[in-house]
Symmetry: none
């Protein structure tokens, strides 16, 4: 414990607050000053230790009164389906495969009819078309993975 690096210390400091609060809102330079590190190290700590995989959502604002807010979210218990879908997608996704995935989500009662509709609109061919079918498939994969990741937790 005594040989922790500073990033670990900052991590623990924030997690102590999060043990008693749903979220923590900081001013980046303040925390940096508290631990005597450059401000960008706070970003490093956040990017390596407060990811969505760990159950944290981070949001921030620049400018006067700017802040970084870290929120703890509850990861759903049964996310095997989501994990395997994400793993299966890779970096390209055809229209046909995307429809299969949406159907799977619906069959597993992970999404309802309205949500099916919204997701299909988001990955609609005309919406994400780029005159380049490879790029379109990449875009479709990215969007789908982003949505699947979002479905893994509830706020």
């Amino acid at each position: 414990m005594a040989d922790e690096n500073i990033s670990d210390l900052i991590e623990h400091y924030l997690k102590e607050i999060l043990a008693e609060n749903e979220q923590v809102k900081i001013r980046r330079s303040e925390i940096a000053g508290l631990f005597d590190v450059v401000p960008s190290q706070i970003n490093y700590v956040i990017n390596t230790r407060f990811t969505i995989q760990n159950g944290y959502i981070v949001e921030s604002k620049r400018g006067g009164g700017g802040y970084i807010r870290i929120e703890k979210v509850h990861l759903l218990d049964d996310i095997d389906v989501l994990n395997s879908l994400i793993a299966a997608i890779g970096n390209k996704l055809s229209k046909r495969d995307s429809e299969t995935i949406v159907q799977t989500l619906y069959n597993n009662e992970l999404i309802n009819r309205r949500e099916v509709s919204i997701i299909l609109a988001a990955i609609d061919k005309d919406a994400i078309d780029l005159n380049n079918s490879d790029l379109t498939d990449i875009m479709r994969a990215n969007i789908m993975v982003s949505i699947l990741n979002r479905l893994r937790y509830e706020r």
Copy 2:
């Protein structure tokens, strides 16, 4: 909450009034005086927080007896507003504006919290990023319009 910037404070002040009234009519210099800022900051607050994307329309008059009036619009009552929203998006949409629009959809009960989450995931910067911020904004606009059009038939 105590460390908000002044623009946020002015925004909340006006929205508190709007919570109980359909509209609020102010004298710019009065509000500026109340918060001890230059008058043009009131324009900044209005331009960034009371746009049609936010679900407000603003009208004003100069000269003696001049005023600024902010009025809430209701997406549900008025399908035209959905059209003007789509028109306002045009062919490019920033991350900030997109978040504003999604929030407005939620405020107007056109979508629920989960749907907010899904839509934000679909237009997330990292999801649709192409190492070209112009293209990202175009993509975000396309996806958003596609979803808005879908919502038209989904309620």
